[in-house]
């Protein structure tokens, strides 16, 4: 049997209606289709707006945030502007905000480690990171991050020294946060692109540091 990959790498551009449904639609999927079609019929929204927003969602990945962080590492004046107004800083790099949210960028230093959470639900800097991982939206992280962040970080393999302050920022419907991790040692000669490759989604949530350049020697 010939295998066929269903991995969508988002470099091709077929209409999204062609994404293959692999199971019988469930009750809630039927509800979603019904609600959406009723709203179309009432001319409150259009199919093209949904299609366009799916494209927007697909275009938002942690690579955007990584580019912002890397640029802040190499350009102190940009970093100052980014820390003063996160949204304007991102917009300066061409990242549009499709929602009415403000962004506060939190800088990690030798003395302060930042962690972001949304205790009430799932608020997240979607325009720059895309959609959050499931664990970010589930009870253990939301409940515990604000009162035992060191224990939570340890579960991600991150151990913060006792003399480093941990600040946990709780997101809201209109204010979102992004962590600016510390630039790893040994990267002085790195290009901005090489630096961006060290910045992961989880580093910008604050559960891990940026990738170290010495941690994984070539085999």
């Amino acid at each position: 049997m010939k295998s066929h990959s269903h991995d969508h790498d988002h470099t091709h551009h077929h209409p999204h209606a062609e994404i293959i449904e692999v199971a019988k639609p469930g009750y809630y999927e039927i509800m979603e289709t019904a609600v959406r079609e009723l709203l179309f019929e009432k001319n409150l929204i259009t199919p093209n707006e949904i299609r366009r927003q799916i494209e927007v969602l697909d275009s938002r990945t942690p690579a955007l945030g990584a580019g912002v962080v890397a640029h802040a590492w190499v350009d102190p004046a940009f970093k100052a502007r980014l820390l003063a107004d996160g949204r304007k800083g991102c917009e300066e790099l061409g990242i549009s905000f499709y929602d009415d949210t403000q962004l506060i960028v939190l800088e990690n230093t030798k003395h302060v480690h930042n962690l972001i959470v949304c205790t009430l639900c799932s608020c997240y800097p979607r325009p720059v990171l895309g959609l959050p991982p499931d664990w970010y939206k589930l009870k253990p992280f939301r409940a515990r991050a604000i009162y035992e962040p060191r224990a939570v970080l340890a579960e991600f393999g991150t151990y913060i020294p006792d003399d480093v302050e941990i600040r946990v920022s709780d997101s809201t419907a209109i204010v979102r946060y992004l962590v600016l991790p510390m630039r790893p040692a040994g990267t002085d000669a790195f290009t901005e692109e090489q630096l961006a490759a060290l910045v992961t989604r989880d580093a910008m949530i604050g559960v891990v540091p940026a990738l170290s350049v010495t941690a994984e020697p070539a085999p």
Binding site: M1, H4, E18, Y28, K139
Partner: protein
């Protein structure tokens, strides 16, 4: 503190500070209908029909049992339907009839158009 007093002070979404299990680092690629549901929420927000806080409150209004048993986007679409009933945008009958129509239209066992191509 009495048990009911605690219920009053902590609505279902308000879980920050509670004890909880260790974190399991789960994630999944959104299913197509989940992504459509997310896009729907965003488009409704653009049109000022439904904002993030209404959405969050709508989910909270489902109550703790449904919050515990439904998945993330199941909670969203159920909350949206309730909010539209409250706003007079949809009626329950209208939605029920449309859901019947959609269910009848969608195939029982959808063919995989990519298979054996």
């Amino acid at each position: 503190m009495s048990q009911t007093e605690d219920l009053l002070k902590r609505l279902p979404n308000d879980i920050g500070g509670m004890t909880a299990e260790p974190i399991v680092q789960v994630e999944h690629m959104l299913e197509p209908w989940e992504k459509r549901c997310h896009a729907l929420a965003d488009v409704l927000d653009f049109h000022k029909i439904l904002n993030t806080e209404e959405k969050r409150r709508g989910v909270e209004g489902l109550g703790s049992e449904m919050i515990g048993k439904l998945s993330y986007y199941e909670r969203w679409i159920a909350a949206f339907a309730n909010i539209f009933f409250q706003k007079g945008i949809l009626t329950p009958t209208e939605l029920a009839m449309k859901m019947e129509e959609v269910a009848a239209r969608l195939p029982e066992t959808p063919a995989d158009a990519c298979a054996n191509s």
